[in-house]
């Protein structure tokens, strides 16, 4: 077991629930210190994958090694080195914030005095020191998620699993959380993150895989994926609901590739402003036009024909 070996290696990993195949055979390798993302819509198989990595769900077939160990046989040892932030906060509602961290540390067999000191330090890190004595229920969604993150760090994990870390949070709370996760990454903790937000994947992940229907449809760095699959910029034009498809022939050739959505046309191009000028030259006047940088959302749309958040 080489300490520098990849924390997560999956080959042909499959998870089935009865007739339903949640994960249909994926190959993944996460490097030490890396922030690795699973991007995909709901039902793509991200959470099932996370649960297998978290050793709380035995793989149906294929091979999975965490820290070089087998999650079924050595689950206890693996979980001792891992921190988990679940999709829905599973905080202990009968205890205070501080007690939540303390008892969680005790589950890891950390001594009472050590865990208290560590809990204090972590509450400071997530800026919740003043909430230490509060019960969990009155906290806001963002605060609860920060408690979950603090709790997941109680054992100084070598690997941190974050399942949809900012789903349901307001933009400000998301940025606070991203900032903390970025600090953790700088300290060298390996992170595995699932998300269906492309901006989150771009912010947090060094490398990611795009999942759809239980399979990996693309893999790379956020910038790499964009460069590989779509043009640099997007010209978004709206001609009114339902009329967009009619306008397809008229805008043909303005950009490199056109994607039709019910409410707008996406024109992929290297120079959005130039494409917009070309539209004007053709005397095509959309209801609205917007030039933006291409994102992972566009990559996903190209690869699957669907948007991430329906």
């Amino acid at each position: 077991m080489d300490a520098i070996a990849s924390p997560v290696v999956a080959t042909g990993l499959v998870k089935q629930f009865g007739d339903f195949t949640a994960v249909a055979g994926i190959d993944v390798e996460v490097a030490p210190g890396e922030a690795f993302g699973f991007l995909g819509p709901n039902g793509a198989g991200k959470t099932s994958t996370m649960r297998m990595i978290g050793c709380v769900s035995p793989p149906t077939s294929g091979s999975l090694r965490i820290f070089g160990l087998d999650p079924v046989a050595d689950g206890r040892q693996i979980r001792a080195r891992m921190g988990v932030v679940p999709q829905l906060d599973q905080l202990d509602n009968e205890l205070t914030v501080m007690e939540n961290l303390v008892i969680y540390g005790r589950y890891f067999d950390i001594s009472r005095s050590d865990v208290k000191a560590k809990a204090k330090e972590l509450l400071e890190f997530v800026q919740l020191t003043e909430k230490a004595g509060s019960k969990v229920d009155p906290l806001s969604g963002g605060q609860k998620r920060r408690v979950s993150i603090a709790r997941s760090l109680i054992n100084d994990p070598d690997l941190l699993l974050l399942d949809e870390p900012t789903t349901g949070l307001d933009p400000q709370a998301r940025h606070v959380l991203w900032d903390r996760l970025y600090q953790l990454k700088e300290r060298g903790a390996t992170q595995v993150i699932t998300t269906h937000f492309m901006d989150e994947a771009e912010q947090l992940c060094d490398r990611l895989v795009v999942m759809d229907g239980g399979l990996i449809v693309a893999e790379g760095s956020p910038q790499g994926l964009i460069a590989e699959h779509v043009r640099r910029e997007v010209l978004e034009v709206r001609f009114g609901y339902g009329r967009n498809i009619e306008m397809m022939p008229a805008v043909d050739g303005v950009g490199d590739r056109i994607e039709v959505l019910p409410d707008r046309l996406l024109i992929y191009t290297d120079d959005g402003d130039a494409s917009l000028s070309e539209l004007h030259r053709r005397q095509i006047v959309p209801e609205s036009a917007l030039v933006r940088r291409s994102s992972l959302e566009d990559v996903f749309l190209k690869l699957t024909g669907r948007t991430l958040v329906e």
């Binding site: 206890r76 979980r79 001792a80 679940p86 599973q90 905080l91 205890l95 589950y107 067999d109």
Partner: protein, 271 residues
């Protein structure tokens, strides 16, 4: 060449979950953290049996007179008190291991969170059962003190009634928790009193098993009956080898219940 133990060889005799029990005391530690804030309920643990026994002493005892146990006449209140003590051990354990466990299993997702740590399903099951048992031990002690305060204690052997009630609590908590893992919704809990009430009424709690005549064998099927016999023996200070059989029934139930509960938690949560 090194010799390695094949774990599969063990599992044929002892279930694998039993090998995976390492720190159930952490679950107990959590329960103590929660209970610290509500220690006052322990007081009710004394006064509830106290009032119960007092009312029997005042009313029923005079009406009923003496009851014959093993050829010996015993005042009714001294006869019925051990029965009630055993029944209260059952009720406390059942309550702790059904409603409370169901809530943590299905609603608060407590066990999901615990299982992401090095804790195992066996740790969770045994820890929760142990907590129900510990609480039961406190209540049983309170019950014994209430009996003593009302002069219903016949023999110093009554101190053994507390460990006996712990065994009763363990059996019922284990069975209760195992059954809880099969419950789908709160409605299913309607079945709990449908089982515990007849056990409470028909386990020779209020009158000797001889009253059943030819049907006395049926009472043997009640786990509580075996507990009642043991507590009653401790109050009278009369021990016989037959009591071992009664204790064995409770031990078997405890082991079966704890094993089923661990396995079911594993199957429900580790999918």
């Amino acid at each position: 060449m090194s010799v390695t133990l094949n774990p599969a060889a063990h599992t044929r005799i002892v279930p694998a979950v039993v090998f995976d029990i390492k720190r159930p005391q952490r679950m107990v530690e959590r329960s103590i953290m929660v209970a610290r804030r509500s220690w006052m309920v322990l007081l009710s643990g004394f006064f509830e049996p106290f009032f119960y026994l007092l009312s029997i002493r005042i009313g029923l005892s005079a009406l009923v007179g003496d009851v014959e146990v093993g050829g010996e006449l015993v005042p009714y209140d001294q006869f019925v008190a051990p029965g009630l003590m055993a029944a209260s051990a059952m009720n406390g354990a059942v309550f702790d291991s059904t409603m409370n466990v169901f809530f943590k299993l299905k609603h608060s997702k407590l066990y999901d969170a615990v299982l992401t740590t090095p804790m195992s399903a066996g740790d969770v099951a045994l820890g929760e059962i142990a907590w129900a048992v510990l609480r039961g031990a406190l209540y049983s002690t309170a019950f014994m003190l209430a009996m003593w305060a009302l002069g219903m204690v016949q023999s110093p052997w009554i101190v053994l009634s507390v460990p006996i009630c712990v065994l009763i609590g363990f059996s019922f908590a284990a069975i209760g928790m195992a059954l809880t893992t099969f419950m789908r919704s709160w409605e299913d809990f309607e079945y709990v009193p449908a089982i515990t009430l007849p056990l409470f009424l028909f386990s020779a709690t209020f009158y000797p098993v001889s009253q059943y005549g030819d049907w006395a064998w049926l009472v043997q099927l009640s786990p509580l009956y075996h507990g009642v016999v043991l507590v009653r023996a401790s109050n009278l200070g009369e021990w016989s080898p037959a009591l071992i059989g009664h204790a064995v029934v409770l031990v078997v139930l405890a082991v079966v219940g704890a094993t089923v509960a661990s396995r079911r938690i594993e199957r429900l949560l580790l999918t």
